[in-house]
Symmetry: none
Subunit: 194 residues, 4 copies
Amino acid sequence: MQKHLSPITKDTKALVLRAALNLIAEQGFHGTSMSKVAKEANISAATIYHYFAGKDELIVELYKSIKIGLMRAILADLNETIPLREQMRCMIRNVIRYLIARPHEAAFIEQFDRSPYNTTMIHEELGSYLQRLTTLIERASHEQIIKNLPDALMETFTLDVASSIARKHTTGALELTDETVEQVVDVCWDAIRR
Amino acid sequence: MQKHLSPITKDTKALVLRAALNLIAEQGFHGTSMSKVAKEANISAATIYHYFAGKDELIVELYKSIKIGLMRAILADLNETIPLREQMRCMIRNVIRYLIARPHEAAFIEQFDRSPYNTTMIHEELGSYLQRLTTLIERASHEQIIKNLPDALMETFTLDVASSIARKHTTGALELTDETVEQVVDVCWDAIRR
Amino acid sequence: MQKHLSPITKDTKALVLRAALNLIAEQGFHGTSMSKVAKEANISAATIYHYFAGKDELIVELYKSIKIGLMRAILADLNETIPLREQMRCMIRNVIRYLIARPHEAAFIEQFDRSPYNTTMIHEELGSYLQRLTTLIERASHEQIIKNLPDALMETFTLDVASSIARKHTTGALELTDETVEQVVDVCWDAIRR
Amino acid sequence: MQKHLSPITKDTKALVLRAALNLIAEQGFHGTSMSKVAKEANISAATIYHYFAGKDELIVELYKSIKIGLMRAILADLNETIPLREQMRCMIRNVIRYLIARPHEAAFIEQFDRSPYNTTMIHEELGSYLQRLTTLIERASHEQIIKNLPDALMETFTLDVASSIARKHTTGALELTDETVEQVVDVCWDAIRR
DNA sequence: AATGAATGAGCCTTCATTCAT
DNA sequence: GATGAATGAAGGCTCATTCAT
C-alpha cells in the first residue's frame, strides 16, 4: 500500500539504495559508512536496518538491481528482425551508451566486480538475465559472424571495454560524442568480428 | 645501508609494501587495516610509520612502484629493430603476460584505479614512464599502422583489456595457455590496427 | 473478555510473559531484547507496549507472577491436620519438586534475585503471600521443632537450596529421582531441625 | 618489566578486571558496558582490547581468577593434622567468611553461574583446583563422617549456601557476627554430617 | 488490538595514529 | 629501528521505545 495523498512517493528502501550508490561511486566502499548513507538519504542509520540485514546485503542487493537494469537496457531494443551483425553492434552500442549516461552505476559495477564482495554465487543468481545475451553470442559465433571466443573474452570486449570507456569519459580523459561512440563501437566490433 | 652485511636482506619497507599488496589484492582497501598489514609483515603497526607517513602514502607509494614495474616490463624487451607492427603486438603481449603472472599486482591496480585514491596528480608523476609508450603509439598511428584513436582509448584496448583478462584468468573464468594468450593478442590487435 | 467465545484462548499478554520467561531463562537478561521477545511470541514489538509500560515492568510483573505461583504451590497441599514436622518437610519437598518441574521459572527467579531488578520494594509487595509461610516457620520454631534461625537463613535452607538443586538438575550435574528428592529433603531437614 | 620509579604500580589489566568486577557486581551484566568499565578504570575503551579479545573473554577471565582465588582461600589454612571433621567445618567457615568479606566477588560468581556465560567447559578448566577439595570430601564420605551425597549436592550445601548467605548479608537481610557465622557453619554441618 | 516504520541513544569493536621507551 | 601501550574517532549494528495508521 503506497502512501496516498503525497505526490512524491517516499520509498525509503529505494532512497537508501540511491544514496548508497551515489556515495560508493564517489567515495568507494572504504569511504562509505552506513551513517553517511543514512545522512545522504535523510533518515536515521537505524532505519536502514529495517530494509537490509546489514551493509553487505545492502551492497549486494544494490549490485543485483543495477546489473539487472544494465542487462535489460542491453536487450531492450534488440530487434530480432535486423541482421545478427547489426544486433551485435547494437548491443555494444547500448552498453556504452547506458554506462556513459549513468556514471555512478558504471563506477559502482567496476568497484564491486573487483572487490571481495564479488562472488561467483552472486553472478549465478543473475545468470537468467545473461541467457538471452549468451544465446545471441552463440548464434553469432555459430554463424561465423564473430570469432569463436570464450564467453569471458566476449565479456571483456563488450561489458568491460564499455565500462573502461565510460570511466575515462567520466574522469574527463576521453571526450565522447554520438559520432565517437560509433567509432568506439567500430573498434570493439573489429576486435570480435571474424 | 645494511644490504651488504646481511645475507638475508631484511628490507622492512619492502616487507610492508608486499604485505599491503597481498592483503589489498585479496581483501580490498575496505578489509585491509594497518594492523593487518603489520601482522602480515610480522612487525608492529607502529613500525610502519617509520617508513610511511600514513596509510594513504603507503598505498600511493605501492601503486607507483607497481605501475613503474609494469611499465618497465612492457618496454623491457621492445626491440626497436623489429617492425613497428611487431613492437605493438609485443607490447600487448607483455602486458597480458605480466599481469597474468602477477595476479596481486593486477588486482591492486584495478582497485586503485577505480578508487578515490586515484588522482590525476598521481598519474602525472608517472608520466615520464609513459613517454616511450606514447611515442611508440604515435609513431604507429602516424605510419597508419593502427587506427587514429585518442590515447585513452588506446589504454582501454591495451592496459585495461589485459587487466580484465588477467582478472578473469585469476578467478578461473578464463583459461589461458601460451597459445590462447596469442589469440587474445590477435583480438586486441584487430581492435586497434588499421 | 473474549475467553468464552474463542476455544483457543489467545491471551496475548500471557503469550508475552511466557516468551520473555523462556528467553530470559535461556539467554539471560543481557541476551533478551524486546524484539526477541516479540518474535518468540509471534507478535510485533510494538504490541508488547500495549500490555506493559516497558521492559522493566514486563520483567518485574513476570517475576511477581512466577513467585506467586511458587508460593501457592508450596502451600497448596499443606494439610494442617498433619504434624508440624511433616508440614515443614512437605513444604521443602514442594519447593524442590516445583522448581525441578519448571526449570525456566527456576532459572528466571535465580537470575532476577541476583540482578539489579531485585529491590526490597518488590518483595514487600509479595509479602502477603509469605505470611502463611512465615507463620508456619514461627510456630515450628516456637515449638522447638526447628532451630531458632533468622528468616533469611530459613530461606537459604529452603528456597535457595531448592533453587540450587533444581539448577544442578537442569544442567545435568545432579540426577534426581523420587527417592533422591526425598534424600535431599532429609538433608535440608537435618540442617534446620532441632 | 614493571614500570620502575613509580611507587604505585599501574597494572592496567588488573585495573580493568577490578573495574569490571565492581560494575557487574552492582549493575549486572546487562548494565555493564565496556565504556562504563573503561570509565571506571580511567582508561579509554579501546585500551581494554589490548588485554582482552572482547567482553566475553574479559568476563570469563575475571570469573576464572575469582574462582581460583576462592578455591585457594578455602584450602589455604586447611591444616591436615586436625581431625577430618574439623577440616570440613573449617572449609565451610572459610567459604562463608571469604564471600562475606568480598561481596563483589560473591555477587559476580552468583550472576555468572546462573548466566549463559556459564559453560561446562569453563568449569573443566578449573577442575584442577577442585581436586584437593573433592579428595577431602571423598575421604570424609569414606570414613563415614559425612553422608554419602553426590558431589553436586555437597557443592550446594557448601559453596551455594555460603553464597546465598553472603548475598543476604550484603543486602542487609541477614546480620552476621563471628558467633552467628559459627552458628551457620553448624547448620551447614548438620546438613551433611552423618 | 495490533503493527510497520522510524529513531536517538548506546553497544561492542576496530581504526589509524602517537609516543615513551 | 622498533615496539607495546594507549587513545579519540569512527565503524556497523542493536536497543527500547514511539507513533500514525
